[in-house]
């Protein structure tokens, strides 16, 4: 249906200067002093300019790409992209060899330069990352792809810069799948929507004829599992994003919900509700074998695997109230891990394996928080009137979730929006969406 993930990049020149650089960023603590970085517009020659206008209806794809990079670095909270008006050196000259004194003068510590050409319907981009203080090149890379892919080039450059300067993988060449919402609270129309991590390239995957909830990517980000009320039968579905093929998961005589993929992508784990009791089941996508994982007269839901497939965290009210539990993936060794005041829900295992993010409800407020997998070290990152359902960035450094506002007695003033926050508790910001939005799920890194 929609071809998104089939674009391959040809990286034909890869070089990272291994010399000790003077700049590095610590992302394990709240960064209140973001690194001043200059993103020089990527240089484009006159011929490419003509082709850029013809192919992309863009005057200067070079400066568009650098804007994508700049925006990514800024929203990460770790970088402070400097105003282009202060730049002294022309983009083409700087790309060959920057005059480091000029860039030091405007307090830049790092500099990104580059060059784009569009020829024979191919977009070629090369960029360099410079350490201003040490006065040397840190990295140089070049890509060739189709011109329409220019935003992704910007995201990949951002990831490379992030990785070089923080020592960890980036999360910019990623997508968010979520539920788009429109209409009054009592008759919301919901559609599956997918967009780039920075809010661009939104596409709607369902038409809004039936209620859809809780979409989640598989590890390769090509499949999505979600809940659909198709024909008024709430069931877990599987959607192939590229082909648009949909199928119901398993043959359950009742509601299935709260689906997620196992980290190896081979199974879907979900809840099945029968006679007022919800338990956790898995279905193997290859041989269609269904396995019951929990068997308890309480509500067991919101299951999420550990990245090594060995454990499952889930939500249960078996103690009388919603709490978070961890068990082995065969359902044995069930242990409650949340013991703080209030109710706990939507546990989701970090891709790094060491933390579980959750929603907490206490005294009429909702919190997004994290705890270690044994329940220790609980840390609440953000408090609000209503927010829930965190999803991890692929590098485990950022959480995306949705937040609803309070409506007045007439139901006015209601909105649902996506927000993100760093694991450090800093850098909370709204994620732009075309419509109201909820239930976000973050893809893996697409260009891995």
């Amino acid at each position: 249906m929609i071809r998104i993930f089939n674009l391959t990049f040809l990286v034909f020149f890869f070089l990272i200067t291994k010399a000790n650089s003077l700049i590095e960023i610590d992302i394990t603590r709240g960064n209140l002093d973001p690194l001043p970085i200059a993103v020089s517009p990527l240089f484009q020659d006159d011929n490419s300019k003509k082709n850029s206008i013809n192919e992309l209806k863009l005057e200067n794809v070079g400066s568009e790409i650098s804007s994508v990079v700049e925006n990514n670095l800024k929203i990460s909270g770790l970088f402070n992209p400097l105003s282009k008006e202060a730049f002294l050196q022309k983009p083409d000259i700087a790309h060959l060899k920057p005059r480091f004194e000029d860039w030091a003068l405007i307090k830049a510590q790092a500099l990104i330069t580059g060059k784009v050409t569009i020829e024979n319907k191919k977009l070629k981009v090369e960029f360099r990352l410079w350490d201003i203080l040490a006065g040397r090149e840190m990295m140089a890379l070049a890509f060739t792809t189709v011109p329409s892919n220019w935003r992704r080039v910007g995201h990949i450059i951002s990831d490379k810069v992030y990785e070089r300067l923080t020592g960890e993988k980036g999360y910019f060449d990623t997508r968010i799948i979520y539920v788009s919402e429109e209409g009054p609270k009592t008759a919301r129309v919901k559609k599956l929507a997918i967009m780039d991590q920075d809010g661009f390239n939104t596409k709607y995957l369902t038409l809004g004829n039936e209620l859809v909830l809780t979409p989640r990517f598989n590890p390769t980000s090509q499949m999505v599992t979600y809940l659909s009320y198709f024909k008024n039968l709430p069931r877990v579905y599987l959607l192939d994003i590229e082909t648009g093929t949909q199928e119901v998961v398993g043959d359950f005589p009742g509601m299935t919900f709260a689906p997620r993929f196992s980290p190896d992508g081979k199974k879907i784990i979900m809840s099945f509700a029968k006679d007022g009791n919800s338990d956790i089941y898995t279905m193997d996508l290859e041989n269609r074998v269904v396995e019951r994982i929990t068997n308890h007269p309480s509500i067991d839901t919101s299951p999420s695997y550990s990245p090594d497939n060995k454990f499952i965290t889930f939500n249960s009210d078996r103690s009388g109230f919603q709490q978070i539990y961890v068990m082995k993936s065969d359902g044995s060794n069930v242990k409650r891990i949340s013991f703080g005041k209030g109710l706990y829900g939507t546990p989701v295992w970090s891709p790094r394996g060491d933390l579980i993010a959750f929603t907490k409800l206490h005294k009429g407020k909702f919190y997004i928080g994290v705890m270690r997998t044994d329940g220790s070290g609980e840390r609440l990152l953000t408090e609000n009137y209503y927010q829930e359902a965190p999803s991890w960035s692929p590098n485990g450094r950022v959480l995306i979730f949705y937040r609803e506002t309070k409506s007045n007695d007439k139901g006015e003033g209601f909105s649902a929006k996506l927000w993100s926050i760093d694991l450090t508790g800093y850098n909370e910001r709204q994620v732009q969406t075309e419509t109201d939005a909820s239930d976000p799920s973050w893809s893996s890194l697409l260009s891995n």
């Binding site: 609270k185 509601m255 509700a273 109230f321 359902a389």
Partner: protein
Amino acid sequence: MNFKKSFRNTFLVILLSLIVSACATKKTTTTVEGQMQGDVYTGTDTVKYLADGVPDRVFFATNESILTTKSRDTLRKQANWLRENSSINVVVEGHADERGTREYNLALGERRANAAKDYLITYGISADRISVISYGKERPVDSGSNPLSWSKNRRSVTVKAN
């Protein structure tokens, strides 16, 4: 499992009668101009009728699926009506308020719908005439963000299926 469940139900009945007797001696707390008892909605604002004198819905306390005395009274009326109209099948829709996580609320709605269904079965209605569906918090009747609105939304609604 079955033993466990019936044990749990017996326990709930005992607990319920304790609560009821406690209320009888304590004096009932009534709020918002007599429209709520504790946090269970007791008004008639949103209530529709399956037939004359047969309300279509019952209301629940926060995070609960226990049927109140009034709910059981309503469901007995529904059961009588269903007995008199044996050709009619129903869907029991379970709902939750907006103050909970989406996935848990789906399960809670299903639990509430089944609490109503089980009671109808107890009063002689065949299980195959009753199906259930949970909407969780997806279909509120009242769009306000206040305790009274939420109490109207914590409900199960019996709807004609044919």
